[in-house]
Symmetry: D2
């Protein structure tokens, strides 16, 4: 599946502010900003919230993780086929809070293609971003771990990481686009990221915990 | 929360036959057998299927697992609060396909009590069942791993495990009830389990993969 | 194997100060304090340091962990039989930095008995200590996680945890002895622990990182 | 550190036949074959056996795994610095029996360079081999998991995997050499591997469980 960029992906993580009813409202906020702005705004809620959000919104929905299993006896895991039926359009993979081994990333990226959903492989530096790009996901999202949740945007604190990732990923796979995450929360952060060559951003607490998430989302895309 | 026994809990695992639309239909079959028989029939679907099943059935729903986390940054995990809002009444914990460490079982059993949902700690022999009972869940479900998915019922192959678990659990905690799993698929298996002192059964593939799951469920409870 | 109590077990963890040559010297210090005082002083070094320490000291040596495997294809794991041949007399299990699932603790405690080595199951509170005691190890070592490495001794900050663990473990298994860990570093801490009924202590950074570990060890046992 | 190729690496895994005294004897056999043939023969024993083998042989020794930690509180883990002091010259990483996540492989490959030891990243197909090569280890060892321990040599069953890996790794990193593993046990298998461009082989049970490992080793290198 192809997806229009620039893209803003909001990782709901497991905050109370983005669980259940709150997750639903946050997805509605994303939808309304997307409609008004024309920018692609995607939600990555917990598994248990996907179905409900799918029933009532039109934005792209991502799983936060897919377990490297095939159908069968895997109690407590999240099966690709089940998540697809719940309504996902794509998935995050290998987030710093849910790292996957190399063989499993490869396996699940291949499986997502068969299901025609897109994948965003999270990485922590230039080298792992290039390695991930070899596996041919639609996106890599580079997030220096020390900046996650820090409020210090990677696009300003370590611009060379974003720029270097964009340049070196293109050398090995010019179909994989680069997002950047970690510390992004304002329109200036997003603009800086895109000026460095990123095709969008992956963010979380900066929006989820904002006093007014919808306003924060509008600010976020104000300079694209 | 207290729950009427005997109880039949169907672990949906991650079979295609019990995912998405199929999960929904299986839950409806459980509900219809429960209504007709008066026996408590509970469903343990994947996280992504909980909300939908909750919207349209009245049977008890269990999560298959709850991650030992508190609200916050835990991408790809399943938060207790989110699962509760989706509609669970209880949860499996420590299934042989999703073992948990001792401290985490303790933590989540305690957390389920605060949320007023019930917990079923899966175990593999008498000793671990007694150890789990110390943590005071509503149920332990003893399943010798070599019999899981074997079609050989624990209640007939190793009756001393069920009987011993019932007796020794009662010594340390007379509030925790014992279920038995592993290889259970017929009414005779269930009757044998209950004659040994079990308060119900935990089952999976024997029903999920049956040609006619609803018929298999009726057979299952025919001798209670 | 039976082991004389009171016992002081020094967990070498993975500090540079307790690796390689430094591990060897620390074991020699333990031996010299044990010889002079008559108190049992045991070392729990990294796997790679066990053989060398065994060749040149007579103190009890524990592994820090044993993987729940049987001989075969388990690259990168630590096999009980290999550790025994290297010279261990016992093992820590389920340390807060290497938690194990309940079934695996049970399996390895049973396996250590066949090999005639002793086991110390680490736990985090009264409930998990009692649950672990059901599995019949020689020792449980209760360590409230918030106090590990804090310099605040559990025997003084949470005496009720040590006392409660001693009392409730005795109810379910009067052969399992209770050690206490977390924050222990002085002779007063040890005395307080033993006054509360502990049969010894498990410690680490307080000694390993001391300016003079040997002196710190002498101080530690000065009030027993 | 540079190491002469072709190289034969024997992964001792956790067999009784390659633990303790048996590990020592196997290492002596490797040494004697290396001396007689001039071929580089390396041993990858369990951590607990490294020190003893180092004391009495001159062959290259690899760890089977290094935990992605820095010095400190990591009970039960294997610290790079400790393994180096025990005498390793290199390490396997990401073996199919001990998969690592992508960020950790990157971190440990970088750390091995600082310690001047070599790294062999195990992979399962062409794509993951190329991704691993991006991280710049000295070797990738490609082992299709379905052939491990099968007795069916990858060099004959799936020659295109070896050839494709050699070709595509060279495109992204011409310093990383390719080994092949999985099912290799005879001189013909090794010759086939090298004809396909491999710089050596990684093997295990085919030699460890042979009636006469030393003879099996001589046969193995007979056609190089």
């Amino acid at each position: 599946m192809s997806i229009k960029t620039p893209i803003v992906i909001l990782n709901f993580k497991t905050y109370l502010e983005s669980s259940g009813e709150n997750a639903f409202n946050l997805a509605k906020a994303l939808e309304s900003v997307a409609t008004e702005s024309g920018i692609t705004m995607a939600a990555a809620p917990q598994s248990a919230d996907i179905y409900r959000i799918r029933q009532e919104t039109d934005i792209p929905i991502l799983a936060q993780h897919i377990d490297p299993i095939t159908p069968g006896g895997h109690t407590g895991s999240n099966l690709l086929e089940c998540l697809c039926e719940s309504g996902i359009d794509g998935t995050l993979l290998n987030h710093s809070e849910k790292r996957m081994n190399l063989a499993d990333i490869d396996e699940i990226v291949k499986a997502t293609k068969e299901k025609n959903i897109f994948s965003v492989v999270c990485t922590n530096n230039i080298e792992t971003s290039v390695a991930a790009a070899i596996l041919d996901p639609q996106f890599v999202a580079v997030e220096p771990p020390e900046l996650i949740g820090s409020g210090i945007p990677v696009s300003q604190a370590e611009p060379e990481v974003v720029e270097g990732t964009v340049a070196r990923v293109k050398e090995v796979n010019n179909k994989t686009k680069v997002l950047c995450g970690a510390g992004i929360s304002t329109g200036d952060d997003v603009k800086a990221a895109m000026d460095l060559g990123a095709s969008g951003v992956l963010l979380a607490s900066g929006i989820i915990l904002a006093d007014n998430p919808k306003e924060a989302l509008f600010d976020l895309i104000s300079k694209i």
